[in-house]
């Protein structure tokens, strides 16, 4: 199968208008006015052509919660969102805490339309006590270990994990919210929680865990990743630590970049997330850091929940929102719209998360493709054609995800993946499966 992507801005080592010819699953040629003979043509005029997006943080719910999402439906959501690879988070039921469980996800993922990698939990059963078989899991390609959903409560356990993992080339990823300070909080603690009579999860709960984790990473020399940073204080601590030489990376979600705590005034559980939506000032700080390159990656924290669970009262409903199908448009919005820097855009959505997930570079784990490349001849063809000016409206009824819990229903978006190509095959076009 040959595909010619015609006339787009190819965002490689430089960004220049060019055609991209794909043949036999690889980028065959990049240049001006290539021959379309025998190739399906994608008109990419006005579009950005770059490496398909990589989400290092997707909850695919399989095994255990297939009524909310399956690996297959999550992968379809990713495909229409412009993603070529996802990292499945391990807070499934049972948790991905063993070689067998991870192999199950990889096996099911092989039949999905895009690449599916898996993270594993730091502790057995995510109970915060005994370390998983990290060396064996690293051997089969796991690059991210996390008990996401909750922080590792016991600092001695986290310290041991950071130390043990050091030679394995993997990263310990923390959901940084102190469980005791969070208590039974359901939204950001502040002016809005006080008015709405909802129990708060204070920003300081994120800050104290980030500070604790940074000091443990500094002391052990371990590799730390802070998941979904949400507050200005925690972000500043991460930036400072990195300048001081601590091996700490971070990600931000599209919703923390585009919604603030005032959204909770609707009591619509579709805006309930952990960590919670913060203040408008936090949103500004995250956006500034995103543009300045202080944040490594945009990660969706795609968190599907079956509809009936979100129709509960705000404090009874589970936390989490969908992300994959509108993450790129929201990232573009946070970067400043269609005139923003396409290199930064692909760094955040593809190159950096691919590198952190071990999906970029010479030795790709888990038998998966090499993502996050420079769109050069010989590269595996995992590409996205992204139209930064395409207008569309989010409609929860037409989502690929099995779940419907998007806070953006009815919202006008600017920017859309018009074609997603994985292994040289067009898997999605214009918001639908190809």
């Amino acid at each position: 199968m040959r595909v010619l992507i015609r006339g787009g801005l190819v965002v490689g080592r430089q960004a220049a208008i060019a055609d991209v010819l794909i043949a036999d699953g690889r980028v065959h040629e990049v240049g001006a006015t290539l021959s379309a003979r025998g190739a399906a043509v994608i008109d990419a005029e006005g579009c950005w052509v770059g490496p398909a997006f990589v989400d290092m943080h997707a909850h695919l719910r399989e095994p255990g919660n297939e009524d909310a999402e399956t690996i297959e439906s999550g992968a379809r959501a990713g495909a229409v969102g412009g993603y070529g690879a996802l990292v499945a988070m391990p807070n499934t039921d049972p948790a991905l805490d063993s070689v067998a469980a991870v192999r199950f996800v990889l096996e099911v993922g092989r039949r999905a339309p895009i690449d599916v990698a898996a993270a594993a939990s730091i502790t057995v059963g995510r109970r915060g006590q005994d370390l998983t078989a990290m060396a064996e899991l690293a051997e089969i390609g796991v690059r991210i270990f996390t008990d996401d959903g909750t922080a590792v409560r016991d600092p001695a356990v986290l310290r041991r994990a950071l130390t043990y993992a050091r030679p394995l080339g993997v990263r310990i990823a923390e959901h940084a919210e102190d469980p005791d300070l969070v208590g039974d909080g359901v939204m950001n603690e502040g002016i809005w929680s006080g008015r709405l009579g909802l129990t708060g999860r204070p920003a300081v709960a994120e800050l104290v865990t980030v500070l604790r984790d940074i000091e443990l990473a500094r002391e052990t020399g371990g590799s730390l990743h802070i998941l979904h940073v949400s507050s200005a204080g925690a972000l500043a601590a991460i930036v400072r630590a990195r300048r001081e030489g601590v091996d700490v990376t971070t990600e931000v979600t599209p919703h923390h970049l585009t919604l603030d705590e005032s959204a909770c005034a609707s009591y619509d559980a579709n805006v309930k997330v952990n960590p919670p939506l913060r203040t408008a000032a936090d949103v500004s700080a995250l956006r500034r850091a995103l543009r300045d390159g202080e944040i490594d990656a945009v990660a969706t924290d795609h968190a599907p929940h079956a509809p009936e669970t979100k129709d509960q009262a705000f404090d009874e409903a589970p936390a989490g929102v969908l992300g994959l199908e509108h993450a790129a448009a929201l990232t573009l919005e946070a970067l400043g719209g269609p005139s923003s820097d396409p290199q930064r855009f692909f760094d955040l959505l593809s190159r950096h998360p691919a590198a952190l997930a071990g999906l970029r570079g010479p030795r790709c784990p888990q038998g998966l493709g090499q993502h996050g490349g420079w769109v050069e001849p010989g590269d595996e063809a995992h590409l996205v054609v992204f139209d930064p000016r395409r207008q569309w409206v989010v409609d929860r009824a037409t989502l690929q995800s099995r779940a419907r819990n998007t806070p953006y229903h009815g919202r006008q978006m600017t920017g859309r993946a018009v074609a997603t190509i994985v292994g040289g095959r067009v898997v999605a076009r214009d918001g639908a499966m190809a």
């Binding site: 603690e189 502040g190 002016i191 809005w192 929680s193 006080g194 008015r195 709405l196 009579g197 909802l198 129990t199 708060g200 609707s266 009591y267 619509d268 009936e308 669970t309 129709d311 509960q312 009262a313 705000f314 404090d315 009874e316």
Partner: protein
């Protein structure tokens, strides 16, 4: 002039002074109904009011159902055990089931903040009356507190409350004491008193103040002893220690020592001031047993005014339905 006719009553935060006076005036006319031998009027004949209490509250429920019956409405009283949530039925499904029975209004009590807003979104054609949602709002309590204040102050002047509009609230010193953080009554009271023109002070241990209270229309005072003489109204809140809010202070005894209205403190309160409490009272915690029975206390009047206020709210919200205009 704005009105609450035909609107759901979810919170007092979006009611204007005119809206509030409208309800107080309507309630006053229903107090007169209450004095008659035949205590029933046909205002809502043929209308159906569902009372849906996810949280037990005998007093509020009785008060609402009595009010509906006095207006000749049919009352569907649905006992919703909190376990039905655990059985898997969502709030949305429960409401849909009740709506299918053909109702004009639903009176909702729920332990979760925001439940009334959610229900109003699920059933846009039904009037929703919030009978208390979590720690958010208890609008009819706020209304009956304001009504009681106006009633007593007007009587002292030999006037009817409705003749005074909102004038008696102008510059009135309202002191709210205790667990404001967890109190839906405090939020509704503050909204009502502020809109009516009163000056409000709150006094509580800092752990019992809600986050962001510095943005509320209130002045924060650290010590109860510093502000007793200032108050025209002393409004005490229930410390809900049965829900664990007692952990926000070292002990109930210490709370009483520092923030309880003791007999000694009552002696420093101005003689004409009113002592209020939404009930049920923790005698010996928020106030000494003797204080609850002091002449300044209007706590039983608050209870008595529950029915006329709820009649006014049911009448105004339901009788403004679109059908009536056609």
């Amino acid at each position: 002039m704005s009105t609450i006719r035909g609107r759901s009553l979810l919170s007092l935060s979006d009611l204007t002074r005119d809206d509030l006076v409208e309800v107080l005036d309507a309630a006053e006319s229903f107090v007169e109904v209450h004095r008659r031998t035949v205590k029933k009027v046909p205002a809502l004949r043929g209308r159906v009011v569902a009372s849906l209490f996810y949280e037990e509250s005998t007093r509020t429920r009785l008060s609402f159902e009595t009010a509906a019956k006095r207006l000749s409405a049919d009352v569907l009283s649905l006992a919703v055990a909190s376990s039905s949530v655990k059985k898997g039925e969502s709030l949305r499904d429960t409401i849909a089931t009740i709506e299918a029975l053909g109702i004009d209004a639903v009176v909702l009590r729920h332990r979760a903040s925001g439940a009334a807003e959610q229900v109003a979104r699920y059933v846009p054609d039904v009037r929703v009356i919030n009978a208390g949602d979590g720690q958010h709002q208890h609008p009819t309590q706020g209304l009956l507190d304001a009504f009681t204040v106006r009633q007593v102050l007007a009587e002292r002047q030999g006037a009817r409350g409705s003749e005074t509009g909102s004038a008696l609230f102008a510059g009135l010193h309202v002191l709210i004491v205790g667990d404001i953080r967890h109190s839906r009554v405090a939020r509704s009271d503050i909204d009502a008193y502020a809109a009516l023109g009163a000056e409000i002070r709150v006094v509580a241990p800092p752990t019992l103040l809600p986050p962001g209270i510095e943005t509320w229309p209130v002045q924060i005072v650290d010590r109860l002893d510093d502000t007793l003489e200032w108050a025209d109204i002393v409004s005490l809140l229930r410390l809900q220690h049965e829900r664990g809010t007692g952990r926000f202070v070292p002990s109930l005894a210490e709370f009483t020592t520092t923030f309880g209205l003791t007999v000694e403190r009552l002696a420093r309160v101005r003689p004409e001031a009113l002592i209020m409490h939404p009930g049920p009272i923790n005698r010996g915690v928020e106030l000494d047993a003797a204080v609850a029975d002091a002449p300044a206390a209007v706590i039983t009047r608050q209870v008595a005014n529950g029915v006329p206020i709820r009649m006014a709210v049911l009448f105004l919200t339901i009788a403004g339905n679109r059908e009536d205009e056609s």
